[in-house]
């Protein structure tokens, strides 16, 4: 099993975070309360995985029963796997046609829905010594499938390729009309 420094090395770069921590303590040094408010950048440009559990560590590292934590993500990475983002390659030349931020479309603030964050705070001692679990990347896997299921529920056609672009949805509807 990795020790803490090895774990840090193996996990690589961390997401950028801004953490506000307030501590309550008695004169003898005993911790009475910890309040943490953490904002993490979780997106295409940053690291997800184990490293993105920021507040879990406050729950376990200190001998203090009164710990309040709050963690918020700045941006949910729903684009790449699901609705918008796609690499377009010209089949003849092999040139990437959308290698710019105009044609490679990351979701804008207007596209991202309200984000509800729910932490499932069960430590996983098998994964690593801190018991921390990933929260940056794993939810995205389920998000894409959930939205694909919702599209299936809405139009009755199963789409098996991401992104679920307007072109893919309309092409599928058109093909279904032709078959009917």
């Amino acid at each position: 099993m990795l020790d803490r420094s090895a774990e840090n090395l193996a996990a690589g770069n961390r997401n950028s975070t801004r953490q506000q921590v307030r501590l309550g303590a008695r004169r003898d040094g005993t911790l009475t309360a910890i309040a943490v408010d953490a904002v993490a950048a979780i997106g295409a440009e940053t690291v997800g995985g184990e490293a993105s559990n920021i507040v879990g560590i406050y729950q376990r590292l200190y001998r203090c029963a009164n710990v309040h934590t709050r963690q918020r993500a700045m941006r949910v990475n729903l684009g790449p796997s699901c609705l918008l983002e796609e690499r377009v390659v010209d089949a003849r030349s092999g040139i990437v046609l959308n290698a710019n931020l105009e044609d490679y479309r990351v979701p804008t603030v207007a596209d991202v829905p309200a984000i509800v964050w729910v932490g499932v705070d069960h430590p996983d001692p098998e994964a690593n010594v801190t018991g921390a679990k990933g929260i940056g990347e794993p939810p995205i896997i389920a998000t894409a499938a959930a939205i694909a299921n919702a599209v299936h529920d809405a139009i009755g056609i199963r789409l098996r390729d991401a992104p679920l672009s307007r072109k893919r949805v309309l092409d599928a509807l058109r093909a279904a009309r032709r078959q009917a």
Partner: protein, 335 residues
């Protein structure tokens, strides 16, 4: 980027002098106003002017929105899109244009981009803009989109280029029967906005404005002020995206009968696309839902999809239907 000279014009007359090709000059001069399209084009090599003629400080260049005294509005070419959105005259008489402008680009770009420059934007085609490729529009032999990835390309027009015209305001202006005032070294002329654009042909790879001419402003006529109108733009995401398909309609409805209709589609052709066949279906007829369906059929009847862009026919049809239902009185504005 090719080397270029920078010149600042103090007046329209001086700008026109500077735009005229100098002796022995192989490349044209280009007008610089907002520069939001020109400068990126120069970066990728899709534009390589010999000189930039900056007209932003030309004292007599129209730069405001004014009442033409006859019920219409004159928009100066140097008016920024952001100012246009906030203009009270346009918001009351031509709200559909304001709606279309709000959908264009981003707030930051709109605060720099000018009306004149917006009308003369070059296509956003990813073959045209790619510095490593040389498509027909860039002086090459063939349209690379025709047999390439053409999911965002034209479903109308069978010319040598299938790139779509990127401007949202131009589509709205076409439905509002606008005209463009243009200054040249010989004379000033006024061109219906239909005439500003032409389908690409082997003889013509650009708009009908000549390199040495200058757009002075846009005239909006009293005849389309206060009309029932609507604008819908379908895009890949909710902000900062060019139209996959858009529709603009302005209707003159009297006692349930459509007296006049002007319909324009965007994102579907190398130029803002007038749906004249759909207009004649509506003109003189009672405005009901079945008539709307027939107009939509007529509008898309001549569409000819490429390998990847058939979905645009459905997208444009739905945008137009919703637009007409929104603009017509007493039809349920279904979404």
């Amino acid at each position: 980027m090719s080397p270029f000279a920078y010149q600042r014009a103090a007046s329209i007359a001086q700008a026109l002098e500077q735009l005229a090709p100098a002796a022995g000059e192989a490349r044209h001069a280009a007008v610089l106003a907002g520069g939001t399209d020109l400068l990126p084009l120069m970066h990728t090599g899709a534009a390589a002017p010999a000189r930039l003629v900056d007209i932003k400080r030309a004292a007599d260049m129209p730069a405001s929105v004014v009442d033409d005294g006859a019920g219409g509005v004159y928009i100066g070419a140097l008016v920024r899109l952001g100012d246009l959105v906030r203009d009270p005259l346009l918001r009351t008489r031509f709200p559909m244009l304001v709606h279309a402008v709000c959908d264009a680009a981003t707030e930051q770009l709109r605060n720099v981009a000018t009306v004149g420059g917006n009308l003369l934007q070059r296509p956003r085609c990813w073959y045209f803009r790619n510095p490593g490729l040389r498509c027909w529009l860039h002086g090459g032999e063939h349209c690379l989109a025709r047999d390439g990835d053409n999911r965002e390309h034209a479903i109308f027009g069978d010319g040598p280029c299938r790139a779509v015209h990127p401007s949202d305001p131009a589509v709205a202006l076409l439905a509002l029967d606008a005209a463009v005032r243009i200054a040249g070294s010989e004379r000033e002329r006024t061109l219906a906005i239909d005439g500003l654009y032409a389908e690409p042909s082997p003889q013509r790879r650009r708009e009908t404005v000549l390199e040495e001419e200058l757009i002075l402003g846009v005239e909006l006529p009293a005849s389309t002020a206060w009309r029932r109108s609507a604008w819908i733009k379908e895009k890949a995401r909710k902000a900062w995206a060019f139209a996959l398909a858009s529709a603009a309609v302005s209707l003159d409805v009297d006692d349930g009968v459509v007296r006049d209709a002007r319909i324009a589609l965007g994102g579907v052709a190398p130029m803002p696309w007038r749906a004249a066949a759909a207009e004649s279906v509506l003109r003189g007829a009672p405005a009901d839902a079945s008539r709307v369906e027939r107009a939509c059929d007529a509008a898309l009847d001549t569409a000819c999809a490429l390998s990847d862009n058939g979905y645009k026919i459905d997208l444009a049809r739905t945008a137009l239907r919703r637009c007409l239902l929104r603009a017509l009185p007493d039809t349920p504005a279904r979404r």
